[in-house]
Symmetry: C2
Amino acid sequence: MTDPLSLTFSALADPTRRAILARLAQGQASVGELAAPYDMSLAAVSKHIKVLENAGLISREKDAQYRYCKLQAGPLQDLDGWVGAYRELWRDNLDQLDVYLADMQRGDDTNKQ
Amino acid sequence: MTDPLSLTFSALADPTRRAILARLAQGQASVGELAAPYDMSLAAVSKHIKVLENAGLISREKDAQYRYCKLQAGPLQDLDGWVGAYRELWRDNLDQLDVYLADMQRGDDTNKQ
DNA sequence: CAAGTTATTAACTTAATGGTTGAATAGCAT
DNA sequence: ATGCTATTCAACCATTAAGTTAATAACTTG
């Protein structure tokens, strides 16, 4: 699970981390500011932030004893690209075509991999 | 981590499971067919499939001793909606605005929460 | 310098994840 | 009925993850 996309998905698979991202979408914030809303130790939030940073979803800028976190869109763009490949699945009732292809597949094995 | 979105992200945070989804995007397949490409026990793939099913990303239809898996778009649509909320971040160089807002915030505290 | 603030690190606990092997279940075919 | 095929379940192991508290580091200010 070392690939970037897995890292991104994994980082986002936690409501606290997604909430932190949402907060950062409206501007940078220090670790303490980010931690304030949560009933959780500062160390725990610090860990969450590190997970986000390791996934490239945020960057940090040091200013005195504060570390200001800033959202980085790159991984989200990649994620958008990934889900984009599936977007056609729910457009134009492609479900019907899906079933058709599946039947073909079972019948003649052409698409087997 | 019981909310649906976390479940979806978590299920997708594994390359094998994403590959299984990609395979299913071109039509339904049995567990054995899905397992074939992987150097992994069938039981392991079976577990992966169960994770995808629990996340609602696939459904299963029983036919004789085969379980045919089929991709379900719902959770992917939700995910698309989630990432969509961030799409503006990388359009129109909104980064500049981001920095501006951040400076405002540190200066006058107006946006603190 | 001493004291307070901010954040990270270390050590630990508990629970979840991803894999294994082997047995069990269910359906099909001889 | 017997055996083959397909799939799951159970028990187990190793690793990772999420949280805790306590200690440490880095900086500011009186």
